[in-house]
């Protein structure tokens, strides 16, 4: 039987990009179901999704990226999807890369696949302070998990059924992407990274400056160290 795949798109004030993101996915994966989680946008993101003919989960107040993604994962669990794929609503993640992320799950080689900007020949421009922050977070998570994880903040990810069920109940809220890696590792999920190409942000400049990215790095490292000391949660496999 063909596995059922759900694409989860968290979106906050993405009315300008969301239409393009949906078209891009429709073009590459016409048969895949997708759902947009509208994190209480103040613009007409919801209307844009409906205009594109897709389903939307609308949160009554803003939960942040962690809460939004978890809503999509709960939807995936409730509707018994086999694979959930997270794609950001800002157009950073090209749909042409999705197959690469899903492939290891289809081959049962991994429970969780992370699309990495930094693996392979990808040349992703970033500020110096940001690169250092990314390096240090990557170093910490690689030591904690015993495998090389280069792109801890990537939101371009796929999960199998067991990982969906786990994250639907225990998705971290504050620094969800890196902390989820630790939580998943501690609970015995097989995590692998695959190289992907990501687009540069089309609109807007990153609001995190040199000091901001150092501070962010420290918070993430502390959160990850604490997450690492958590007991694993018993679950049926």
């Amino acid at each position: 039987m063909k596995p059922r795949i759900l694409i989860i798109i968290p979106a906050y004030n993405e009315s300008e990009n969301i239409g393009r993101v949906i078209d891009d996915i429709r073009e590459h994966l016409p048969d895949t179901e997708l759902i947009v989680v509208n994190d209480c946008s103040s613009d007409d993101t919801e209307a844009a999704v409906i205009r594109a003919g897709e389903k939307v989960l609308s949160l009554p107040f803003n939960l942040g990226i962690g809460g939004a993604v978890q809503t999509g994962l709960r939807y995936a669990r409730d509707r018994r999807f086999d694979i959930a794929l997270q794609v950001d609503g800002d157009g950073q993640h090209p749909a042409s890369e999705i197959d690469k992320i899903i492939a290891p799950i289809l081959d049962s080689k991994a429970d969780v696949v992370i699309g990495s900007r930094f693996l392979g020949e990808g040349k992703f421009k970033s500020s110096f302070s940001r690169r250092i922050g990314i390096r240090i977070i990557s170093l910490f998570n690689s030591i904690l998990t015993g495998r090389k994880i280069t792109d801890n903040t990537s939101g371009f990810r796929a999960y199998n059924k067991a990982a969906i069920a786990f994250l639907a109940d225990y998705y971290p809220q504050d620094y969800p992407e890196p902390v989820a890696i630790i939580d998943l590792f501690k609970n015995g999920f097989r995590i692998i990274e695959v190289p992907v190409v990501m687009r540069e942000r089309e609109a807007g400049i990153s609001s995190i400056g040199a000091f901001g990215s150092m501070y962010y790095m420290i918070k993430v490292v502390v959160a990850n160290l604490i997450a690492f000391t958590r007991k694993s949660i018993s679950r049926e496999k």
């Binding site: 389903k55 989960l57 809503t71 709960r74």
Partner: protein, 118 residues
């Protein structure tokens, strides 16, 4: 000998405890959160009645200025209370989040059912 200050201290400690109890009776304060307040009030009463206690503790702990012990206990109690509050707030946030997600999922489900029944 009972000093006027002692009377004021005992009466105000009693008032705090009575106020907490009345809040529980009016259902404005959950029993769960009141325990720390009642314990705090009782500690105040003990210190008001037994005036030498502060001196005894100060001597045992090697504190030169006994009233500092009172301040220390007060601050410790306040910090404990704040910590308790942040735990309660975190739990509230978790529940709020779960409710918001449930609402989003249910709204979607209703829309689907409406479409089906049309």
């Amino acid at each position: 000998m009972v000093s006027p200050f002692q009377v004021v201290a005992i009466v105000s400690s009693l008032l705090i405890i009575l106020f907490v109890i009345s809040l529980i009776r009016k259902r404005k304060l959950r029993e769960e959160y009141s325990i720390l307040w009642i314990i705090g009030g009782l500690v105040l009463i003990v210190f008001s009645i037994w005036r030498d206690l502060v001196d005894i503790i100060a001597r045992m702990a090697g504190v030169a200025y006994p009233p500092a012990v009172l301040l220390l206990i007060g601050i410790f109690f306040a910090v404990l209370m704040f910590l308790h509050f942040t735990v309660v707030i975190s739990r509230q946030e978790d529940r709020n989040k779960a409710l918001a997600q449930e609402i989003a999922l249910l709204k979607n489900r209703i829309k689907e059912l409406e479409k089906k029944s049309e």
